[in-house]
């Protein structure tokens, strides 16, 4: 019973009043700004961590990109060199072939020219031999025909040949 006797309505009222004032004043001027600040800071930390993580990922991506680019460039260089080498080889072989063909052609032309010359020379020789033979034959005939008997003999010989034919 003593406890109920001790209960003071006045103290209760004072306490209730002061507590309400405390809750409202502290709520407005202390708890709200404090909690907001703490929350803001926590958000900030979270964001910063995320940003750092993202930056790290980005760095990794960049690194990977760089590596890829480098690899590509190297491959391209390789390909270019290979192509150049091929072109060189092809050019060399092409020119060799062409030279061969050209040479063959020249040789053939030379051979043809030689053949022509040879034919012409032979024809010339033939003509000269012919005319020489005719001249010789003329001179021989002229010599032989200076004597009448010999002429008759020859005619007779010739006539004999013709008859035989």
């Amino acid at each position: 019973m003593d406890i109920f006797n001790d209960f003071s309505i006045g103290l209760f009222a004072m306490q209730a009043f002061i507590l309400i004032v405390l809750i409202f004043l502290l709520g407005k001027f202390a708890w709200k700004p404090i909690l907001n600040a703490i929350e803001g800071r926590e958000e900030g930390i979270k964001d910063a961590l995320e940003a750092a993580e993202n930056a790290k990922k980005e760095m990794q991506n960049l690194q990977a990109d760089n590596d890829r680019l480098l690899k590509e460039a190297r491959a391209e260089r390789e390909a270019m060199l290979k192509e150049a080498r091929e072109i060189k080889d092809k050019m060399i072989s092409d020119s060799k072939e062409q030279a061969q063909v050209e040479g063959d052609k020249i040789i053939k032309q030379a051979q043809a020219a030689i053949e022509g010359e040879k034919k012409a020379a032979l024809a010339d020789i033939k003509n000269q031999v012919g005319s020489l033979s005719v001249e010789i034959a003329e001179k021989v005939i002229k010599e032989q025909l200076s004597d009448k008997d010999k002429q008759l003999k020859l005619v007779e010989g010739l006539l004999g040949d013709i008859k035989l034919n």
Partner: protein, 364 residues
């Protein structure tokens, strides 16, 4: 509670005796009286007393304003006008009314009475209690606690304007605020709704803790051991969780689904009794009893210094009581935090029960 009755009986027996030996406290009964007196609220701030060389009893402390609602309206005067009398001997005349103080309560004497007369049970027969809004020792303690909270937390709040990391006292206070938020409010109330109740929980936590700690100083406050204070705190929690109850909470409290219809009113009755009476009662009694018991035990053990003087000598008795009291005080410092924590924790838990929404009932 029987111990309080014990105190009060001994008080009645000893009435009038304490003045004769200059208010020395040296017998068991007087120690009991002294402790009982300490546990009560007081109208003046009494630090200690001593007997001067001339044999006069001197009280060191200061008086506090008395504000009462009498039959003629508001009356106020300083408590020094009672001259430390607590037995109804000193009569204060104000506005034509006579007031006296008996056991820390202020009485208004009936119109024609000039002195208080008591019956056999030591109840005043010709005086009645008045509504007492005095700045008593407890109210003074509350104001100090409030002031400390303003100073500490306003400076913490202000500190955030300068930078995200607090400096000075804020470094100590900020982790405590975060502790209340993350260990008490969030897990019990839930992520969605806890913010609304943070001002109350934080205020109550620091309020109780600071007052518990002030109670352990030699200033002799016993604020959280005043039943009016704990009743008030528990009522605040009650009002908050009753006014914030969700639809689900009321549905489950008043008309529990999934239970035979005949049982539902019975359950509703039990739930209501639980929420309206038992839960606040457990809150207020736990805090009150812990603090009161702590104060009684510490003072009792300290009094061994006097009681064991005969057996162990002055030095021996003082040594024994010193170490026992030191030990108890360490425990009390822990209890001071623990009770603040438990009160806030349970408040958060009850609020959490009330605002909880059962998703499963909405889903299908």
């Amino acid at each position: 509670m029987s111990s309080f009755q014990g105190f009060s009986i001994s008080e009645k027996e000893k009435e009038g005796h304490s003045q004769e030996d200059n208010g020395h406290v040296d017998t068991k009964e007087e120690i009991g009286d002294y402790i009982a007196h300490h546990l009560k609220d007081a109208h003046d701030f009494h630090l200690f007393s001593y007997t001067s060389d001339s044999g006069e009893r001197k009280h060191v402390g200061f008086s506090l304003p008395v504000i009462i609602w009498s039959s003629k309206g508001l009356v106020s005067f300083m408590s020094s006008e009672f001259h430390h009398d607590d037995a109804g001997h000193t009569i204060v005349d104000k506005k034509g009314l006579k007031f006296t103080k008996i056991h820390s309560k202020i009485y208004e004497l009936d119109a024609n009475a000039t002195a208080v007369s008591f019956d056999e049970e030591h109840h005043a027969t010709n005086a009645h209690k008045v509504l007492d809004f005095s700045i008593t020792k407890s109210v003074f303690g509350i104001l100090i606690a409030g002031l400390l909270m303003f100073l500490g937390f306003f400076s913490l709040a202000k500190g955030y304007k300068k930078g995200a990391i607090p400096t000075g006292i804020g470094r100590v206070l900020e982790p405590l605020v975060i502790y209340v938020r993350d260990e008490i409010a969030r897990p019990n109330i839930g992520e969605k709704k806890y913010k609304k109740f943070m001002p109350y929980l934080l205020t109550v936590f620091f309020f109780i803790w600071i007052l518990n700690l002030i109670g352990l100083t030699p200033l002799g406050f016993n604020v959280t051991g005043q039943i009016a204070i704990t009743v008030c705190l528990a009522l605040f929690t009650l009002v908050i969780y009753m006014t914030n109850g969700s639809k689900d909470f009321w549905a489950h409290t008043l008309w529990m689904p999934g239970v035979p219809y005949i049982l539902r009113p019975v359950l509703a009755f039990l739930e209501l009794v639980g929420f309206i009476l038992i839960k606040p009662f457990s809150l207020l009694v736990r805090l009150f009893a812990n603090i009161t018991a702590g104060h009684s035990v510490v003072m009792g053990i300290a009094a061994l210094m006097i009681l064991l003087k005969a057996q162990f000598g002055t030095a021996g008795a003082t040594g024994i009581s010193f170490f026992l009291t030191l030990f108890l005080m360490v425990i009390e410092v822990l209890v001071a935090f623990l009770q603040a924590f438990i009160f806030t924790m349970l408040s958060a838990l009850f609020i959490g029960m009330a605002v909880e929404e059962h998703d499963h009932t909405h889903d299908h």
